[in-house]
């Protein structure tokens, strides 16, 4: 275990555990107002402001060139036809760019393309080894399971923030709990979230090259999200809290009529505090990949730069070797070689 790994792994782990302790001690000291009302509002504010701030930072820089990654046949001769997949992988129109982005954002298109390459020792081969490549979907599966499970978990939590609760939340609820085991019914999304986040964490730790590149900024959000999932699951199934009181508090926050509600167990405040930290941390972290992917110039531009002119806002004149200078240098030789010139001498 290198010192580099220790630093980047254990510091965020300690930080997340520290956050748990902070919330625990805070609630024991009767700071429910702080942890139940003030911190959530602050987190929401930081999240929104941070997001706007970061987006403004990005928008301050222009996109000078059209640099989409062309992942299929470009527009060519009329008889070279492109199927829908090719149109989306090398989009010529805004419509297809939207399609490409939708696939990227909703289905993780690029990750789906993932391959794995391995150097396989092969004594029969003249060089004793060869590279083989195969389609590798596990990372895609882990990522998509993680993100969609998280989405479902968030949407399910709407039942605490709305009154009456919208129908789709009930629907989600019954689908998510369709296995109907345990009391209260186990939500699959919670388990999937836990397993997928666990996979994302384990691959970082176990695969040497990933452990080598992983930073505290990679472990911290994983620890945070895992602790959020774990405290949520503990709270739902094991260390129960008065859920009516929880909703009372949540509705108070959502309607801007905040109130401190008595009688909620400490585990709820730990859960809530970790969620608040996640929100506040979001705009200043790699989690900005979520809005960032929409801005990615290798994905969100039409590959039409041969037939639609694009202007670089900071385009500037450059000095280049002009033909006149060139001819001045080579005139005699050019005349001798019968190459036409502008000036005979």
């Amino acid at each position: 275990m290198t010192d580099f790994f220790k630093l980047h792994f254990f510091v965020p782990l300690a930080a997340v555990l520290g956050l748990v302790v902070v919330a625990y001690v805070g609630v024991q000291a009767n700071l429910q107002l702080l942890f139940g009302v003030v911190v959530p509002y602050m987190a929401a504010l930081i999240f929104i402001e941070g997001m706007v701030y970061r987006l403004i930072q990005w928008t301050r820089s222009p996109v000078p060139f059209r640099i989409p990654t062309t992942a299929a046949q470009n527009k060519s001769l009329p008889w070279i036809e492109k199927n829908l997949g090719e149109k989306l992988d090398n989009p010529e129109t805004t419509k297809h760019v939207v399609g490409r982005m939708a696939l990227e954002v909703l289905a993780f298109r690029s990750l789906f393309r993932n391959t794995r390459t391995e150097l396989r020792q092969d004594p029969d081969h003249p060089e004793g080894a060869r590279l083989i490549h195969w389609s590798y979907k596990w990372l895609w599966l882990g990522a998509i399971a993680f993100h969609y499970a998280f989405l479902v978990v968030i949407l399910r939590h709407l039942r605490f923030f709305t009154e009456p609760v919208p129908g789709f939340v009930y629907l989600l609820d019954s689908v998510d709990g369709f296995l109907q085991f345990f009391v209260p019914v186990v939500y699959l999304s919670g388990l999937v979230l836990l397993v997928a986040a666990g996979y994302l964490l384990l691959r970082r730790i176990l695969r040497p090259e990933l452990r080598y590149i992983s930073l505290a900024a990679d472990y911290f959000p994983l620890f945070l999200i895992l602790s959020i999932a774990i405290t949520g699951i503990l709270m739902r199934y094991f260390y129960k809290v008065d859920i009516v009181a929880v909703k009372d508090l949540a509705l108070g926050l959502a309607t801007f009529k905040p109130k401190v509600v008595a009688g909620i167990g400490v585990i709820f405040y730990i859960h809530l505090f970790l969620v608040c930290v996640l929100f506040a941390y979001f705009p200043f972290s790699k989690l900005m990949h979520a809005p960032g992917v929409f801005l990615s110039p290798t994905r969100n531009l039409a590959c039409n730069s041969r037939w639609v002119r694009h202007v670089n806002p900071w385009n500037y004149p450059v000095k280049f070797h002009s033909y006149a200078e060139y001819e001045d240098k080579f005139r005699e030789a050019m005349i001798e070689a019968d190459i036409p010139v502008e000036k005979e001498s």
Binding site: P62, V63, T162, E163, I243, K247, K257, P313, Y316
Partner: protein, 158 residues
């Protein structure tokens, strides 16, 4: 062309001027607004409204008949609030699988383990006692798939 211009590196010449402004702002901020709008849309309808949490009603005739000191549930109030579903689940297993209807509460008080005959005996007001909280937090317990709300049925029969 500016002859002084040698290359783009600031120490040698003027650098390319990037106008200080927001580029592609209309798409990006439209996206951001749509994002926030979608995310917050479920919250709009109740904005600024004070929504009181439901309070289970305990004023059924059966409870009122009891002396003040006897008005106790099978377990303490705080436990019941958070864990009644698990208690009922245990009862169900004991009764259906084990045929055992005896339940001993705190202080050695004996009860019959029965939703229909014990719980609903006192809490005959299912709508005010059970449903309003369940609806409030959007849970749909499976109790009522088998157990009937007797008061309602009786009222209908009459």
């Amino acid at each position: 062309m500016d002859d002084k211009y040698k290359n783009e590196f600031g120490v040698f010449a003027e650098r390319p001027k990037v106008e200080k402004k927001i580029y592609d702002g209309k798409y990006i901020f439209l996206g951001l607004i749509i994002f926030f709008a979608v995310v917050t849309s479920p919250l709009w309808q109740n904005l600024g409204k004070a929504i009181p949490a439901p309070v289970p009603k305990l004023d059924t005739p059966a409870i009122q008949k009891l002396a003040e000191k006897d008005r106790k549930c099978v377990q303490p109030l705080a436990f019941m609030r958070a864990n009644h579903m698990q208690l009922l689940d245990t009862w169900r297993t004991e009764v259906v699988r084990g045929g055992n209807r005896d339940f001993v509460g705190p202080g050695g008080v004996k009860y019959t383990a029965s939703l229909q005959n014990t719980c609903l005996d006192c809490h005959s007001n299912k709508a005010q006692f059970c449903d309003q909280c369940h609806n409030y937090v959007a849970v749909t317990p499976t109790c009522w798939g088998c157990h009937l709300d007797m008061t309602q049925k009786l009222a209908e029969a009459k």
